[in-house]
Amino acid sequence: MWRLTSTTLRYRWRVVALAWAVGIFAGLQLSLRTPEKLAITIGLMVVVASAVAGSTIPALERREHRRVLLPLLVVGRRQVAAARAVAPAALLALGAALGTCLCTLDALFRGQVVDPDLVLAPIAVAAQLLPYMQLALIAVEVKAAHDEARRGSERVAALVLFLGFAFPLAINLGALAERWVACALALGVGVALTVAAGVLYRRRLGFVE
């Protein structure tokens, strides 16, 4: 799975670089009046840009008919399904890591005490974004199950889609106000949705997209 994921990310380095460049540029623009918040703003923008770029990866892969290549490779369907679900999340994780590094370096450079709330903010935002990113993959699986007339799978996928949308929303609306608890829950939902996206893809009857 990791080899497939890393291949996808290596191949999409232009998308990643462009997204991060846009994120950095947007962060620079937004922090013109508040230079003391430069690092955190850029860090957060990089995370958002990574989420956007990560969401485009499945569609980009589909456009290049990647599934046709898979019969040539000695990889199992479970690995393919896992790699497909993990690649966007991995890009988001890379963005979160970059954002956190920026914030940490900024704090160290300024000689300030590293504030975990501030430094880990990119990770917190990434955790909140992860469920929404994976919802796109779940939606694709709802459609695939519908097209293949797998009514049971379609209902399950639709339920996952609904819960995956409702739960993070409830968290964000303040049902759970404690920030880190909310982030941890969102991360849990995101991971669960990533697993669900992989499982639903694995259960498909056709991979001819």
Partner: protein
């Protein structure tokens, strides 16, 4: 003969794949090493569906597929080590070079040989340093074939590999496949509706229509037994053995026979005059079979 030759390259048993308004199968097929099997049928017959089931891109509703004794389990991909797949489309990484793509395939193929892939690429005149999106259609097809052969698969699955190629490249590709089957080790499962492609290559032909196998025959048997026969005979409403099509203008008759020997024997008995026979091309035979005229017997293999 190697020990591989003692087992089937491919066994398909009771394969069924359903779509709304179309059902493929049940399909039963087997393929021995060293044999080139041509799967022939019109568009929509189920050729690509069959091949997608073989390569794991489609999950059949029923049936089993075995490649050199290994069932094509979705989560145990070892059976893929023995197959090379060339389709109409290529899923290569367009912005990577030919070499990078081949290296990538090699990383996921335990039996991959860089040397072999390089040799094939050189033989084909494939520019290794060119990006895939800069390749001509012909070169993309060559890349697909090199990528499919780099791990020396014992079963090659081809789905219209020459579609859209110019005649020169087509001949090159077919020549390469011809050489490949010469060693008697490789089995080739070749799906196409361009019959001239497999006329030279195929040992056996399977005719598929509306998701069902109409007939399976050795190519040489078909070419040998099918004939167009013309003769003069003062008789109407003739019933001749092996004849599937009969046209008559006064005393002149023309028949299409799938068993020319039986037809000629009968004509001799009837005292027909001016008997002339002509061989039929695979194209002509296929049309007769696929239009339902000659599919009366499902040939045993």
């Amino acid at each position: 003969m190697s020990e591989h030759n003692s087992e089937h390259a491919l066994i398909i048993e009771r394969l069924v794949k359903r779509y709304p308004g179309f059902t493929l199968g049940p399909i039963d097929l087997d393929l021995q090493p060293g044999v080139v099997l041509g799967l022939i049928g019109p568009n929509g017959a189920g050729k690509t569906t069959t091949l997608h089931c073989l390569t794991g891109l489609l999950v059949p509703e029923a049936g089993t597929i075995r490649v050199f004794g290994r069932e094509n389990q979705p989560d145990d991909p070892r059976w893929r080590q023995d197959i090379g797949v060339v389709g109409e489309e290529s899923g290569f990484y367009l912005r990577w070079t030919v070499e990078e793509n081949l290296r990538l395939v090699g990383r996921f193929q335990p039996n991959w040989s860089d040397q072999r892939a390089r040799r094939l690429a050189e033989r084909f005149g494939l520019p290794l340093t060119k990006r895939v999106n800069e390749l001509s259609k012909g070169n993309k097809a060559k890349l697909a074939i090199v990528a499919a052969l780099g791990h020396a698969p014992r079963l090659l699955i081809l789905d219209e590999p020459t579609a859209g190629l110019d005649p020169i490249v087509r001949v090159e590709v077919l020549g390469m496949l011809w050489e490949l089957q010469e060693d008697g080790e490789h089995a080739i499962f070749y799906s196409t509706h361009v019959l001239s492609d497999i006329e030279r290559l195929a040992d056996e032909l399977v005719f598929l229509s509306d998701g069902r196998i109409l007939q399976r025959s050795a190519k040489d048997d078909l070419v040998e037994s099918w004939r167009r026969i013309s003769f003069r005979l003062a008789a109407d409403n003739l019933s001749l053995p092996g004849v599937i099509d009969h046209r008559q203008v006064r005393l002149e008759h023309q028949v299409t026979s799938r068993d020319h020997q039986a037809t000629l024997d009968a004509l001799r008995g009837l005292g027909a005059e001016g008997v002339e026979q002509a061989r039929m091309s695979i194209d002509e035979i296929a049309v007769e079979i696929l239009t339902g005229k000659g599919a009366g017997r499902v040939a045993a293999h």
